[in-house]
Symmetry: C2
Subunit: 197 residues, 2 copies
DNA sequence: CCTACCGATCGGTAGG
DNA sequence: CCTACCGATCGGTAGG
C-alpha cells in the first residue's frame, strides 16, 4: 500500500481531473484538457502521474475508502439498527456535500476501470452493500424496519440520496443540516415500522 | 418533425447503440464497436444514420418524450394529487423496466449532446420537473403531502427509483407489480402526511 | 518541466 | 453495402 505522500502538484492534478471527469466524463476528457486546466504541457503531467487511468483509479478508490471506512466506524458503534442507518445516511450526505466532484466520478465513471481494478472495485462495492444489508436485516429482525426485500430497501435508500452531489456549487451554502433532516425524515417515515412508533 | 419512418435496420442500429452506450458510455463507444455489433462495415452505418451524435440525440429525445407524454396524460387526469403521484411513480418504474438501455443513456450520457440539442434537452427536463413540482405543490396545498422544499421532495422521489433500470436483464422476470408496490409503499409512507391517514 | 514526436484510433467521406 | 482512405486527435515516450 503506497500512497504515503501525495505532492501538492499531484493533488492539484487530481482535483482538476475530478472536475473535468465530472462534467465531461472520463473518456471524453483528454490529457490535453487536463494539462491546460493545471497550466502544464501534456507531457509534464507524466512527471506526476503514471497514466490517465491511474487518476481514475486513485479517485474511485479514494471515494470507496471514504464509504467503507465510514461504514466500519458505524458498524462498530454500540447502537441499534435505526441509529446505524441514521449514521449511514449522514455519511452519504456528508460525503456528497464534501466531495461532489470525486463522488460523481465514483458513481458514474468506475465502469472505465479495467480488469483487475474493476473487479477489485466491484468487490468493494459488494462488500459495502453487504455491510449495509446486514444492518437492515438486523433492523428487520428487531421489528424496527418494515420487512421488505433487502435489495429493494438498500437500492431505494441509497438511490434516494444520489442527487445531492449534483447540487451546483453556487448553491453550496445549502444547509447541510436541513438536507440531512429532510432526507432522513422522508426515508425514515417510509422505512420505519409504524407499529413501533 | 421528421422521423415518420425508421427502417428495421436503423432500429437495429439504435438498439445496439443503446446497449453499447449503456455499458461503455457514449464517448468510449466507437463506430467500429457499433458496426461489429450489427455486422456491418463502419462506413455502411452511415447509409442509415447521419452521425454518431444523431444516434445519441435520437435515444435521448425518445426517452424524453416517453416521460413528457406520460406526464401530460397524467396531469390531464381528473384525479387528486396523490393519485397523480401514484401514476408518476408507475410511469417511471414502467419506463425503467421496459427500456433499461436507452434510459441509462438518457440518464447518464445526455451531457455529450452539443449546444442546441443540449439546451433543448435541458429545457425539456426543466419543464418536466416543473410539471411534477406543480403536482407536488397541489398535494401540499391539499395537505396530502408533507410540506417539504419542493426541490428536495422532487429529487428524493425521482432518485429513489433510479436503480431499477440497472437490474440485470437475466433477473428480468422480476415482478414489475412487486417493484411498484414496494417502491410506492416506501415512498408514500415517507411523503404522505400521516395526520391525514 | 518542456520540445519534439509517435503509433493507434477516432469519426467520417469518396466513389462505386 | 463495401473498399479504400483521410485528417484530427488520442495517450504516451525520448531526451534533455
Amino acid at each position: 500500500m503506497p500512497k504515503l505522500k501525495i505532492s501538492k502538484r499531484k493533488r492539484e492534478i487530481l482535483n482538476a481531473a475530478a472536475v473535468l471527469f465530472r462534467y465531461k466524463g472520463y473518456a471524453a476528457t483528454s490529457m490535453r484538457d487536463l494539462a491546460e486546466k493545471v497550466g502544464l504541457e501534456v507531457s509534464s503531467l507524466y512527471s506526476h502521474i503514471k497514466s490517465k487511468e491511474e487518476i481514475l483509479i486513485t479517485l474511485c478508490f479514494h471515494c470507496a475508502n471514504l464509504y467503507s471506512d465510514g461504514l466500519n466506524q458505524i458498524t462498530e458503534m454500540d447502537t441499534n439498527a435505526m441509529q446505524k442507518i441514521d449514521a449511514i445516511i449522514d455519511l452519504h450526505i456528508n460525503i456528497a456535500i464534501d466531495h461532489p466532484s470525486s463522488i460523481t466520478v465514483f458513481n458514474d465513471e468506475w465502469k472505465h476501470l479495467s480488469s483487475e481494478d474493476l473487479s477489485r472495485f466491484l468487490k468493494m462495492r459488494k462488500s459495502y452493500e453487504k455491510g449495509i444489508k446486514s444492518v437492515l436485516q438486523e433492523g428487520i429482525n428487531n421489528s424496527l424496519l418494515k420487512d421488505y426485500p433487502l435489495d429493494m430497501l438498500l437500492n431505494t435508500m441509497l438511490s434516494a440520496m444520489r442527487w445531492i452531489h449534483y447540487i451546483k456549487n453556487d448553491i453550496n451554502q445549502l444547509d447541510r443540516i436541513k438536507t440531512q433532516e429532510v432526507v432522513k425524515t422522508i426515508l425514515f417515515a417510509g422505512i420505519v415500522n409504524n407499529k413501533k412508533r
